[in-house]
Amino acid sequence: MIPLTWGIMSSGLQETVRFLVIVAASTAALEGLAYVVLHRMLKHKYALPIMLILPALVAVMALVIYPFGFNIYLAFSNMSMYRFKQFSVGLSYGIQNLLDVFRHPVLQNVTFMRLLGRTVVWTVVNVFFHVLGGLFLAILLNRPMRGKAIYRTLLVIPWAIPQVIAALAWKGEFHYQYGFVNLVLQRFGFQPIQWLSDPKWAFVAVILVNIWLGIPFMMVTILGGLQSISPEYYDAAQIDGASGWHQFRSITMPLLQPVLTPAVILGIVWTFNNFNVIYLITRGGPMEGTDILVTSLYKAVFEFYRYGFGAAYSLVIFVFLLIFAGIYLRVSGGFKGVEER
């Protein structure tokens, strides 16, 4: 055991503070340079917004765009654990890697198309229940009532617990003999279920956990949307004698759309790319039966050490997510309300 001494505390703190100072100094230098060049010398029309964006742009460039480019480069290589330093790069390797994604099982058993299908099911089922549950709770909460703040606070707890902890805790609760899920089932006279050793039930289990995790975000977002709908619309609808369901369809849903569309897009992206829940609860098993694209990607790279292949595979996954999100945007009518401001 290493005790937490002042030495350890302060050495970490020193590094962090030094880092913050360097960031502040380089930002100031960058801004100064941009000010002189754009504003003083070029009298650029958009000097100010460019200056405001510049630091964020530099950070994203260095830590997202550049690694992304490097990833494309790696996709055209035969890099692996055995060829970590001396790998070769060429078009043929790129084609080889790309074909490998579709030709063979990605890991050992499951092919790309089946993983894709499973990922789509995973995403659609999860986001559907996130929105349904979130909408239901938000509507219940969106009224003057006693204990509203307490309900709201308690209902957000699944979101407030670090995902890693929540996933590992649920893993224990799906234990055949000691987990509370089966204990509760037995109390009500049902047979216990082999949650984690039967691939079908394991997939149901991870979906249940992820639904539980994702409802609070939707609830909070939708509640914000509901609160900004003016009550006058409903008063007018009541005078016209519209039923509750009718009001919901013709007032609540359309006016909620500008909030809902971005929230659903984010929900789709986050769920599609959710690594933690499945990896921590089932590790994608049993027999790769609960793997989705991103968990198999992680395994291909960090358990099978196929770096070049992994780079190509990650690009394929990225493209499929783009297509998937694009389809949703097309169907839902896109960002009309968000963009035009």
């Binding site: 290493i2 937490l4 350890i8 505390m9 970490g12 962090t16 913050l20 958009y46 917004p49 405001l52 630091p55 964020a56 950070a59 994203v60 260095a62 830590l63 997202v64 992304f68 490097f70 509507i139 219940l140 969106n142 009224r143 009532m145 309900y151 209902l155 957000v156 699944p158 407030a160 617990i161 805790a169 224990g172 000691y178 509370f180 539980w212 609070p216 909070v220 914000g224 609160q227 003016s230 009550p231 009541q238 509750g244 369901w245 009001q247 007032i251 500008p258 909030v259 971005p262 984010l266 790319n273 690594f275 992680y298 780079a311 990650s314 990225f318 999100a325 960002f335 968000v338 401001r341």
Partner: protein, 284 residues
């Protein structure tokens, strides 16, 4: 049923009762798993595996917590995680707050593309950039430092924060800044004096999100840190996982301790949670 779907004072008592019952059930589902973790953490070592469902176990004690704090490197991990997460929040929110203002108030060429691009970065599969960043970190000699980690965490949180903040700034009328500028403040001063104070909810939520991401990040930390004194808690957990699998109650105690800071922060910012989370919110 008439006014079921919106604010109403005229709910019948029966309906109000029904709503409370439904909400209480939902709350139970939401908190029960965590209460179970708390309950397991209080179990003495002799009652490790049990089919008991009661929340306060027999012979409850804080022994697991004491063992964890006194005998493991737990406090070091917590300290390191706090430092890294706080630095991430500072850097990430500052960068995003400025950039989002530009996106909200100027229609410069490339603005739309920029916003779409930011959304696209959210779609990169987790783990995709890990290997390239690892190679960069080794070349720049940032291995075993927090610098590389904080940088990539904050860069990772910036796109979402920009979206969040832009959405919120959009709801603040421009007249307020114009009034300040009439009084002689420059645009930057107007931003600092008018917009920043008004957007506390959104800034708080952007900070909360950045904190949560950094707080439980594991993959990047595993690649970048190897010195045991520098481990953040997710790494420490990994290290102790073998022990934990036989000591489920210790794991539970550790989980409670790392969940508490995140939950407190959530509780503290919950008053801003609903108003601050405007993803392109409605305009009156």
């Amino acid at each position: 049923m008439k006014r079921f779907f919106h604010n109403s004072r005229g709910d019948s008592p029966a309906k109000r009762l029904l709503i409370h019952i439904v909400l209480i059930c939902a709350c139970a589902v939401a908190i029960y798993p965590f209460l179970r973790v708390v309950s397991i953490s209080l179990r003495p070592g002799s009652a490790l595996l049990s089919t008991d469902l009661s929340l306060i176990p027999e012979g409850a004690s804080l022994g697991n917590y004491r063992a964890l704090i006194m005998e493991k490197d737990f406090t070091i991990w917590l300290w390191n995680s706090v430092m890294v997460s706080v630095a991430t929040v500072i850097v990430g929110v500052l960068l995003a707050a400025a950039a989002a203002y530009a996106f909200s108030r100027w229609s410069f060429p490339g603005r739309r593309q920029g916003l779409v691009f930011l959304l696209t970065t959210q779609m990169l599969p987790p783990g995709m950039l890990l290997l390239p960043i690892y190679v960069m970190v080794v070349r720049l000699r940032l291995f075993n430092t927090y610098t590389g980690m904080i940088l990539s965490y904050s860069a990772g949180s910036v796109p979402f924060s920009i979206w969040l903040l832009k959405g919120y700034y959009d709801t603040i009328p421009r007249e307020l800044e114009e009034a300040a500028m009439v009084d002689g403040a420059g645009p930057i001063m107007a931003f600092y004096r008018v917009i920043v104070p008004l957007s506390t909810p959104a800034l708080a939520i952007a900070g909360l999100f950045s904190f949560m991401t950094a707080w439980s990040e594991f993959m990047m930390a595993r690649v970048m840190l190897q010195k045991a004194t520098m481990f953040t808690w997710p790494l420490g957990f990994q290290k102790l996982m073998d022990q934990f699998s036989t000591q489920w109650n210790m794991f539970a105690a550790a989980s409670v301790l790392v969940a508490i800071p995140a939950m407190l922060l959530f509780l503290y910012s919950s008053k801003w949670l609903i108003s601050g989370l405007t993803l392109g919110g409605l305009k009156e």
